[in-house]
Amino acid sequence: MSVLIVIDQAPYGNWSGREALDMALSLAAFDQSVSLLFVDAGVNWLRKHQNPAPIQQKGVNRNLAGAQVFGVEELLADQSALQQYRLEPDDLLDGVAVTEQVHELLSNYSHVVCQ
């Protein structure tokens, strides 16, 4: 059993990415194999230097940066989405692996969740 949680919504404008991240962290906490895949506007979760204090939300950078410490296996980002949002490797949190083959990648997981 290996789980992939797909995040395609941008941060802060709605809660769905936040709750998808909670799903991944819960699986990891119970020692289940889980990775996160960021596609479309979802890649914006991976930007360095987010500061949601002015809009009175809690940042998720720390959760995301610590995801692998908590047992999330991989943080994967879709290359074409990174390109669309002009995100270079230097702009991203540490530990993000870039993938060009989202379609093929999906088939590696026995359980896929698009929250």
């Binding site: 941008a10 941060p11 506007a41 987010q50 949601p52 809009i55 939300q57 949002y85």
Partner: protein, 89 residues
């Protein structure tokens, strides 16, 4: 008649394109919430005068290299007070 268009959808959202189509030459476009992500996208032709909420950019870590006027909530109030018409997309 000057219309202020307030847009809060990500660039991939269908209403994003519909809003851009509706912005006339003398109109203003205000990007808030997830719409500020458009400032980091190359291939979107944003119309004439583009304004964005600074706190939404800061939240998302977007620096906005494009020509854009960054404003705060009090400026947003002034813009809406001055506009003849306001459309929230």
């Amino acid at each position: 008649m000057m219309t202020l268009h307030i847009l809060n959808k990500s660039p991939g959202h269908p209403r994003f394109g519909r809003c851009l189509d509706a912005v006339g030459e003398s109109d203003q476009l205000l990007l808030i919430e997830n719409a500020v992500l458009a400032l980091s996208v190359d291939d979107i032709a944003l119309p004439g005068r583009v304004i964005a909420l600074a706190s939404d950019l800061e939240a998302r870590g977007v620096s906005g290299h494009r020509e854009v006027e960054l404003i705060h909530y009090d400026d947003m109030v002034a813009l809406t007070a001055a506009a003849d018409r306001i459309i929230s997309w």
